[in-house]
Structures are given as structure tokens and as C-alpha cells.
Symmetry: D3
Subunit: 285 residues, 6 copies
């Protein structure tokens, strides 16, 4: 259950409107690696977590914080959309040479559909999809994914930081950069904690008995492309992170299976080759 | 440029058809974390990689291998779809009590649309989407993501392994489990290599000057949910992975921004409150 | 069954081409609340309507009219796309300062994919989805939705009216504004008619016996956010539209359920915490 | 900014697991009219609301409550997924004749992807999309939509109530039915309040001057389908809800526009008819 | 502009309800190659057609007919959904052994969302998308596509014919098979007519001057896969359909381009390799 | 199984960067008819092909070639994205008047998400979907579709050729135009070969016994729209391509089915008309 306070976690006021940048900000609100994704991903992982205690608490706490980030970005976007020109004619009338670029790069739905507000869509106007989140039930896999999500997210915020000079916008981004930094640290710490608690290790899922897999295929990096430098990395020899695998490099792929020949299909499905039609071919039973 | 050989990388023959399991296998072929995703993700990362050498070679090599996994899964699915009953009537006629369950859980498009073949869709019949892949240009972020993708993928294969007794299917899964194990190791090794080459570190992007971000918000895990165990983990105190952050726990969220009041919008967009209609309100200029 | 006449329901000729505005018009053709949505929504509601007579007739009649609106918008868009510059170079060559804005805001698929024609996509180039329509089988719910669809649709047309000076375009929009006005009235009248015919009332579905629901939770608006003005509206006290509920305001949320603790999952799914692996853990039976 | 408490708003414990029903419940969690939709719709409307005070407070408060409903449904689904058979073989082994039906109707991603947890997807496994929400900036249009959303949502909950005998599930549904009942009342009251505050009326948007639209087309319901009963409803004559329109019925559609003839397109787009190729046809400038 | 008559083009009454088959029929209503696709594809091609006369008339006429097919399928589905069991319990209670299979394979949205009606979704419950239609402006390309659409569509109807014994259903399918047969003929005839009218030929677009393309690459089928039988077909030698190309077989792929080395990207995007941070790296200008 | 060589099939170097054109090129990389589609469509058709030999070999060979086209386009896009302005301010600073148009038309995800790389999305930033490919199991239907795909694809490339003056870009397009020309020829030749091998003919599926369909409806093109020129084409009289059908033109549509009246639905689904609530109406059994 949630309670909401209307005060923002951090200030979200631009110096001036900028409809084009408002659209760019949509990426970190409603894009694949935006705040909607981390908010929903952490909350669903928390709700589904079958292990009560610190991990569940961390997930629910961080997911709840991310909702506040969603709120700040939506607020910032609504403010950046003030006074946007409604047409190319209007954009061309004003004296600022930049306005044509801004108009061309703005999002028509911001005015036609939303009347000047933000929404959970990416910077190309594609709606956020729940397919962006994962809650696998395996915390080690999910904490790695969460760290990854913070990396991709912070990377995008850092890029957006270089795309504006507005000090108000930059101020909010500085806050988000700091929180994403912390969250990267936090999920990596959670990975360590899980491993030291004996609740999962590399490879994921550790609980699957490795002797069941075909171990003879579990240590060779195979050269499927003709770039020779592949042999120069840590993955080509030496010890792997699971503490048992010793990397090798295989110079060429080998086929361990034969050329498949599929049996003819059911003639009632009319695949090629067609079977000679039988009287039964067009009735079910 | 690619060259194809029709021999399979590993054998893909089930002992017997099973249309329901054929549908389950779609998840690791065309689902979010399936083989289509890793194949395309690694190839696009490789093609876009602006740093020639070992990393680019590893990406293109592994992406090419994953295409062979796509091929094996599609072949396996086509074989599992042999002799599938075409209707509930047909399923009910036969003597096997399991057939109703199999029929109910099978994918109608497998017969109506594909005529008995696999396709890049997930186990609920939702098409694979390119939104599943990421190629950010930042290799550290992407290698972490690649390791994550192998974790989620191997987890799903391990679960599927427990959902069948067919030795032919299990044989292929044992191969995939081994390769996914190796690929987890490989991407983690690539992360280490990047860091030791000085090409990127934690946080991502390391090149962004941390003194630009609001550092005062970069070390406190904040308790937004009322689970007290959040204070028991490594993320609540001590040193973080970036070697500079010392974790703290903040017991309650604080609002650093004020309650937002948005300015009235453009009256020509007819938001509420409506402005008193002016004669100009319904023409552009 | 339908019959088509090529004459348009209303004229659809712009004064001049405008590729950027052509893209904006896509919103009311193929966007969530565009003409495709209302056409298909009313027709499917009509075809599925299990009550013969005036309601079914109204649905099928209005749905058929909306197809004519789809046709007019597609025609208008095709005309607005005449003479569009094919490249930034071409746009920059001409003497009109507005052309850069127009070019930047135009839809590349209009020329690359459609060769200068309209299509059922929104103003960001996202395809129309059948998920936009609802046909629930409950006419009261659906007539309310239909009225809503006309409100959102007319709102967008009114905004688009303020984004152009082209008299031909405005002429078509004036027609659509009038029809959307009428259709708002019509669906609200149909709501009244249903209620006076005793075929459904508030709440929807009225046929569900309210004594079955937990009545003690059916009258309190609860303050989950800290905005105090919530107590000033009609929803905070007095009589509700169902004629039986008396509104109350609850000052704070209460938890009526306990903190959930989920049981450990099936170890064969490798959730955390992992169970100690048993020999049976990796085979189905 | 939000704060979370782990206690649930209402109890969410089934008497027994039921993987098939777990999938059905997904509809009201992640389907078009499920709790994700109303939570996000109300919050975005609240954040974008440019009118401070009671309406904004109501939106943010109700949106926050709906997050608690999302949480309860996810918890209920996770519990219903306990002990689900992992394969048709397993389902067939047990003694309960219903298990084949349950297995056939269960969602394979619940086990393969989520490891026994809920997610924001509908009952066919299609991910929730942000296209399901609307925040138009016009409160009258949006409050009507919100009332509609509660109607469609409560209708689905009422149907689901008739699809199970589990008293724990029914108990949660009784709570949701009551809250959806209240929320229908609440949004209808908000519509009234807006109108009595003079902030918007019928038609939406009222601020658009009706004399600008083609008034001669604003009162005739036109018979486009051959069902004669269309003339029997309130929409065929008498006064409409806007207090100024008097309905009429037009017996047959009339074309007010001519048969469109589109000009030939740009030959460089290779539409039919092709122009005779000129030397300039294949270069831009 | 359209006019609707409620009589159906052909009868659509099943002998008995069958909720599972109702779901299968969705494929040819709302699937990629279903009636929604051909209806919308032909209508949009007709509306966008810049060549008045017989081709435009054929498109608009056939598109209008397909709307009648949409209507019949929706009606048939609504009838097949009568008396469907609402739960596994209910399905198990009855005496018919087939009911578990039917229940498992039925579509939960048919009852929860639609209340027993059809909708434009495929047989896995994925909504119809406007991305399924193409209107390119080049009639030759589009008529080939239309013939193709009828082939895929008729193939699916023929398969569905073999999945039921219901004489009422089969009767409707026999009608659709006949119309799809005719429509295949019709579009192939339209291809011929276009060519004999000199309005387009092979290759598409014929108007593009072939001497502009790299002709030396326009006749060799290249062996990229190791199946030797590729040399046995008509494509390996002899004359092609354009009357000028003579096929050859190239035994192995050749690279005509070099190994790409991409320049380092903009350091402000934080790709790898990171540039040494300059003071300017984090501001726009 | 595939092997990759890093040399490109053809050169992919532009003369100069052009971020707007980079976005346009996305259409033929990741759009519906782009290289991703043909690559995946041919490979899946090849893997699912149940007829070993020349057809399967051709499919796998051509699909493998198309992967090389994907690679070249991605490389070209990455190069066109060099030096793109990161903001409207930056675009406006420079001296080139075209830059505003280029900036407005560029894809924000190219920099924010990809850091200057290509991805399998269309020119409006919508992700490639596996729904774009079809592998029906019927080779005649699929070869017609493949020919169609090459037509639509080549048409788009030809249009793009007219949208740039960059000789490097044009050089790559000339290569693609030539290959698409060849592939059109090749699939048409494969159609002929199939027919001459007796493996399938018109109509598709030929194996369905035409006497089963309602033959009386298989030869009349029906005039559903009022364009009289429909009677002037080859489809209105004479012999059809199947060698047995003689076309006729029917001047007006006829209804062969009656006006449908659907039975009342299950009262537990709360459709309109509501049934009088019975005590059993709200429990399953």
C-alpha cells in the first residue's frame, strides 16, 4: 500500500520551455531503460519475492523511490511544453532561428493528445511496454539485471545532460545521475550479499547441477567470426568466475549434429510437398 | 557476411512429438530472453562497435554462434509438432489421457499459420520484438547486460529441462545449458578485461565526471518502504564497488523539491481550466 | 454487408500541400481515439450485440458512418502530401523559411513506404492497434465509453483546428467537429434510454447484486495523497449517482490485510532461496 | 513522492492454488482495463493537471490507491501459482480430473519466465501497454473516461467472480467490486462538480465556439444501416444533453463531397502511373 | 461512403457452440492474414490510388466485400461462444470428455473482456495491428501482395476446414474458400492487366532505370549455404521473367567491401573507448 | 550453423554524415519490408521446410545473404551518425541552413539510446516485429510472398535513392537495387519451378479439393463500390489463371445469409439485456 505526498523528491523546474528537449526526456521516463521500467521492475520483483527480509525490503523500497523519479520527469516535461508553437507557421514567425529545429523535433502527441503533458512513451512516441520488465524469481539473475538497468539508465541521463544548457534541467539530471550511481552500487552489493549468504552463485541458476549439462561444451569460446583478436582476451584462457571453468579457445566451429531432414507434415495442413488428396483429407476425423 | 552450413551445431531430435512442449520451447527461441535476442543483440553490438579488436571480435563471434542456436530450436520445434491433433475431437478420440492437456496448451498458430513449424514468438504467441535488444555503444553497460541475458536465458532453459522427460529434448537442453554457462563466464570476463584495459569502470558511464552530479545524494539508500530488514544488507553501510562511495541508510525519504504548480496551458489546447474564448483562440496565428 | 459509393460524405481538399500537417492528421485517423477506433468499436459492438433493435441499429449505423470519416481523412492526407520535399537538401533549396520545420516534422514513411498516401497510424508513426477498441457486451459500459471516445476525439480535432490556417482543412474539421458533437449527444442519450428501459444502471454491471460486494468499502473516498482540497468536492459527502451510496471521506488509508509472506516456490523453478538440490530436482516425474 | 507499507489494503489469500485462474486474474491486473491502467492513468492525469486543488488531489489520491490494488492482485496470483504442475505428464498423473483443463489453460510464462509470480500482462500473455492510458489535459473528457474505466473494470471483476468458488479469491473480489463501485460514483460526481464549477461542459471541449463548426451537421443522426428501429430511441428526436441541440433522424446518408481524384504523385516515388523516366528522376536535386 | 445492410453475405450459423474453435477462427478474422487485413489493405490502397478508373474501382469494391467477411466471422464466433463453461470446475462437471481440451484451448478474453463476442485479435489473443497492411502507391507491388494475401488467407481457411466437423462452420468456410479462390485469380489478372497497360512491369519499380543499378550483381544467385541442390532450379541458369536477365550461379560468396572500421564516436555520448574527459565534455556548446 | 567474415559484401561508406538520412535508412533495415524481414523470413522458411533439396537450399542461401545486407545497412547508418549535433542549439550555431531540417528529422534514440549506432527499427522508431515474417509451410504461398517482399523492398530502396546525393550511399543502394532485382526474378522462377514440379499450383492450396468449396461463388467479381470501370478489366470476363475459372461480373452484391439474431448470452457475464438475477448467478456451480 502506498501513500503519496505532493512535494517532489527534487526540484523539477526548467529555466525555459523547450518542446524538443521535452520529447528527448521521454526516453528516460517511458523508454525501455527509463524510470517506468525500474519502478515497475523492482516493485514486481518485490511483490513476487518469496524470501522475506532484507532483499524484499530493498526491492520494495527502491521501486517506491523510482515512482518519485517518474513523477519528477513528468512534471519537468509538462513545464518544458509551455508555449510550444502549434504549427510550422507559428514556429517560423518568431525571431529565433532555432525554432524550426525545435518544432521539427517536437512530439505532435504532446499537444494533440496530451494537451501539454508528459506520458509513459519513449522519445519516438512508442508506448512503454510491460515487456520491458523482468521478475524471474531468481534474485541473483534479477539483481544483475537491476544493476544493468541502472547502467543503461544512467548512461542515457549522462547523454541527455550533454544535450541541454538549461540549468534547471541539468540540476534535476545531476540528482538522477547521483541516484543512478548509488543504485548501481546497491545492486552490485546485493549480488555480493546473495552470494555470501549462499543463496545463489555463478552460473545462474547455480542450483542446477552442472554435471547434468554437457560439460564438454562449457569451457570453449568458439571462433565463429574471422576476427583474430578474439584470442587476446581473458575469455580465451585462464580461470572463469565460477571458480571451476578454465577457458579455451576453439579455432573453428564444429557441427555436432547432422543436417536435419524433417518428416513430411500432416497433409491436412497443405504444406509442400502436398500429399495426394485422400477423401479423408478435408474432414477432421 | 555470413556463410551457412546445414549441419547443426548439436543434435535436435526429440524422442516423440509433443505439441504443448513445442509451444513452451518458443519462449527460449522468440521470448524476451531467448536465442533471437542474444543473437541479434550481440551482432548489432558488434556492428556498431567503434573499437576494433578483441571486443568486437568476441561480439561478432558469439552473435554468430547464437544464430545456430536459433536454428536448432526451430528444428526441434518443427519435429515436436509432428502428428499433433488438429482438434479437440481428435485429441479426445485417442487413448492417451494426457492429450487433452497437451491440446489445450498447444499453440493454434503452429498449425493454422505455420503448418507445423517454429517461429520467433514467445510461449504465449507474442511476436519477438527488436525492443528486446540493446546496443548502447558503451561496452561496459552492454557486457553487463549480455551476462544478464545469459543468466535469464539459462534460468529458463533449466526450468524447461524440468518440464519434460524426453531424452532427445533434454540432450539439446544440456548443450544449451553448457553454452549459456560458458557465455555467462565469458561476458563477466569481458567486463573485467574492459576495466583492466582502462576502458570503463563503475559507475557507468565512468567518463562522466562524478563531481558534476549531486554527490550528496550518491551514497544514501533511502527507506521508502517499511521493511526494517533493509538495514541488514551490505548496501546499508561500508564501501561500495566504485571504491569511493560509503553507503549510508536514510531512515525516511525527504522531499528536496516543492509541490509543483503548473502554469495554465495554451488555451488553444482546451485544457482545464478553459480560458475565456478569445476571437483568436481558434485560429493559428 | 456494405456497399460503397465513391462520393465523399464531405469535401476533403486542402488549399495547399503541407506534409507536416499531413502527419498531424494521422492522429485522428489512426491514433488511439481516431476514426479507425470509433468505426471499428461501434461495428464490433453492433455485430456482438445480443439485443436486436434500436441499440444494435444505432451501433451499426454510426460505425458505418465513421468508415466514411476514415475515408475523408485518408483522402485529405494524400492531398496534403503532394509536392513534399524528398530530402533536407531539397527543403533547404527553396525560398520558404518554414520548409525546414515542415520537413523536420514530416513522416518519412509517408514517402518511403506509402508513396504519398495516408495509413492507419498515429502522428508518431505507431500503427493502429485493435487493442484500442472495446466491445464488452454490456451496452451501458460501452455507451459510456463511446461518449468518451467522441469527447477525446473531438478534443483532438479542435486542437488540430488551431494548428492550421488552411481553409480547406478547416472546412473538413468543422464538419468533423459537428458530427463528433452530435455523437457525444447521441451516446449520452443512449445511456439515458438504456436506463429508462431498465436495461442497466449505475454501477455497472447493475445486475451484480451489491449485497455480494463488501458494502462497508463502497462509500469512502480515501485520502492516499496529502492534498487537502480533496475534501472540497461532491465526492466527499452527500448522495452518489446510484441513489443509495452516501459519500464519506476517510482521512487516511487503512490496511485491512496483513503483510504477505509467500510460500517457497517449486525448487525446480530455481527461485531464490534455492532448495537443496535433490536427485529429483531436474526431472519432471 | 510515495511511501510504501508492506501491509496490504485487503487480504489476498486463496483457499487453494489454481494456475488457470491465476492466468485469468492477469486480465484485471495487466489488461487494458486492469489496475495498472487506472493506477497509471490517474497518476499521469494528476501530475499533468494544471489546475491545483480538489481535482488534482482526487486524481493523485485515487491513483495511489490503485497501486495498492495492483499489489494485491500480484500477491494473489503468486499464491495461486503454488504447486502448479510443470508438464502435461505431471498434470495427468494426479487423480483430479480437472487438472488437464487447468494445465491447458495456464500461462507457460508464469513458470518459465516468472518462476511463479504475477506480471503486468493480460490473460492472453500480452504485455500491458502505456497506450492503454490517456491524460488529455481536459478534465471533463478525462473524468468521463475514468468513470468508463471503472465500469469496464468492475464488469470484468464481476465476471471473474462467477468463474471461481474459492472463498479467498471471492473475498478479494468483493473488496474490489466495492471500490470500483465507489470509484464509478466518484468520477461521475467529479463530472458534475466540474460542470457546476463552470470548468467545462458538453460537448467536449465546450470552449471551442460551436458557431465555428458546421452547425447544420450537428443534430442529425443518419441512418447508414438498414435497421429501422434506429428511429425509436431518444437520439432520434427531442432535446440533447447540451441543452441546445434538437435531434433529428435522417433517413439516408447524403454525400456532400465529390468523388476524389488525386493528382499524380511525385514520379521519384514510383507510384502508378509511372511517369516516363527523365534523367532527373533518380537524383535529388 | 458506405451503407450497411444487416443481412449477411452468407449464412454464419454453427450446429453447436465450441469455444475452442471460436478462438481458432480469430486467426482468419484478426490475424496477420485475416479478413481485417485484406479489408483494410484494399480500402487504403483504393483511397490512396492516384490513377482513377478500373484499378481503383476494383480495390474499393473488393475491400468493401471483405468488410462483409469480417462481419460474418464475428457473428460466427459470437455464436460459437454460447454456453461456454466459465471455469475448469464447470468444464469438469459435465459428461463430455472433450470439454477439458476445449476449455484449455479457449480464449479467456472471450468471456472476461468481450462477454461472449468476437474481436479483431488473432488465435493467440494478440490484437490486430495496422502494420499488417501495405499501401505502397505502386499498384504492381500491391497487386502481387494482394494475391499473396489471398493465398495465405485461403491456406489458413483450408486448414481450419480440417479442424472441425461442424457443418454450419464448414458451410461458411466453403464460401470463404470460394471467394478467396476468386480473389487470387482476380489479383493475378490485375497484375497482367497492369503489365499489358504498360503501367508497370518486372522488376518493381520498373520505372527505375536499371542501368543505374550495379548490373554486374543483378544476375548471380550466390551459394551462401552448403546445400548443393541450389544449382538444380530454374533460378540457376536461363532466362528470368524480366526478359533480360540471364541467371548464373556463383559457387561462393565474395566480399566486395572491406572490413569496416568505424571512427570513434562523440565523447559526449560515452561510447567505448571513452575519451579523456575534457572540461567541455559535459556541456552542449 | 553460420560462420562470419568481417569483410562486407559491398562497400558501405558515405561521403559525409547525415543524421536525418541515417534515420530514413532505418526503414529498409528494420521496417516491415526491410532486410531484417527478408533475412528472417527466408531462414525460418528454410529451417521449417519439410522438402529437402533445391528449394530448401535456395531459402537458406538467400536468407544468409540477407544477413549481410543487414550488416551493411547497420554499418552505413553508424557512419552517417558521425558528428550529429546533439541539440537544437548546436544545430543552429553552425553555418549550414540545412541543419535545422536535418536535426528535426533525426532520430533521438540514435544518440540517447544507441550512442551513434543503427538498430532494427523503422524510420519512425518503431521496433522490428517478428509479426513481419511468414513461414507457412506451403512453398507456393511463401515464394509468392517472397517475390512480393522483394518488390516492396526494392521500391523503398529506389525511393531512398532519390532522397540523397551522397555518392557513397547511392553506391550501396545501387548494389541493393541489383540484388533485389535478382531476388524478384529468383522467387518468380521458384514459383514456376514448383508448378512444373507438380508441387503446388493456383489456387493456393491446390491440394484442397475445389469441389468442396462452394463453386457457385468462385467466379463472380462483385461490384460493392459504385465505380463502373470495374467492368473494364481482365477480371470481369474471360479465363482465370487456374485454367478453369471463367470470370463474371455481378452488378450488385446479394445477401445469401439472413439478418443475424444472437441468442442471449450467459447472464453471469452481465451482457445487456441483463437476466433477472438468480441466486445462482454469482457462483460458478
Amino acid at each position: 500500500m502506498f501513500v503519496h505526498t505532493q512535494d517532489l523528491q527534487f526540484e523539477a523546474k526548467p529555466e525555459a520551455p523547450d518542446a524538443e528537449y521535452a520529447n528527448r526526456l521521454q526516453e528516460v521516463l517511458g523508454g525501455k531503460w527509463g524510470e517506468m521500467t525500474v519502478a515497475m521492475q523492482y516493485l514486481y520483483q518485490g511483490w513476487n519475492c518469496r524470501l522475506p527480509g532484507k532483499y524484499k525490503d530493498l526491492l520494495l523500497s527502491t521501486g517506491t523511490e523510482e515512482l518519485a523519479h517518474v513523477e519528477m520527469l513528468c512534471t519537468m516535461i509538462a513545464r518544458l511544453l509551455e508555449s510550444a508553437p502549434l504549427s510550422a507557421q507559428e514556429a517560423a514567425q518568431q525571431d529565433n532561428p532555432m525554432l524550426a529545429a525545435v518544432f521539427g523535433g517536437s512530439n505532435p502527441q504532446h499537444s494533440i493528445v496530451n494537451g501539454g503533458g508528459g506520458y509513459p512513451y519513449d522519445s519516438n512516441g512508442v508506448p512503454w511496454s510491460a515487456a520491458f520488465i523482468t521478475s524471474s524469481g531468481n534474485l541473483l539473475a534479477d539483481f544483475h539485471l537491476n544493476a544493468t538497468a541502472e547502467m543503461q539508465g544512467r548512461l542515457q541521463v549522462a547523454r541527455l545532460y550533454n544535450m541541454t544548457d538549461d540549468r534547471g534541467v541539468k540540476d534535476l539530471l545531476k540528482f538522477l545521475l547521483a541516484r543512478d550511481h548509488l543504485h548501481q552500487m546497491q545492486w552490485l552489493a546485493a549480488v555480493e550479499e546473495l552470494e555470501s549468504d549462499g543463496l545463489g552463485g555463478i552460473p545462474v541458476p547455480e542450483a542446477f547441477p552442472v554435471e547434468e549439462q554437457h560439460q564438454e561444451y562449457a569451457n570453449k569460446v568458439i571462433k565463429f567470426s574471422d576476427g583474430n583478436a578474439i584470442g587476446e582476451g581473458r575469455w580465451a584462457s585462464g580461470q572463469a568466475a565460477d571458480g571451476r571453468t578454465r577457458f579455451e579457445l576453439a579455432d573453428r566451429p564444429e557441427a555436432h549434429g547432422e543436417r536435419p531432414v524433417l518428416p513430411p507434415g500432416d497433409p491436412r495442413l497443405y504444406g509442400t510437398p502436398p500429399q495426394t488428396a485422400t477423401t479423408g483429407a478435408h474432414s477432421t476425423v
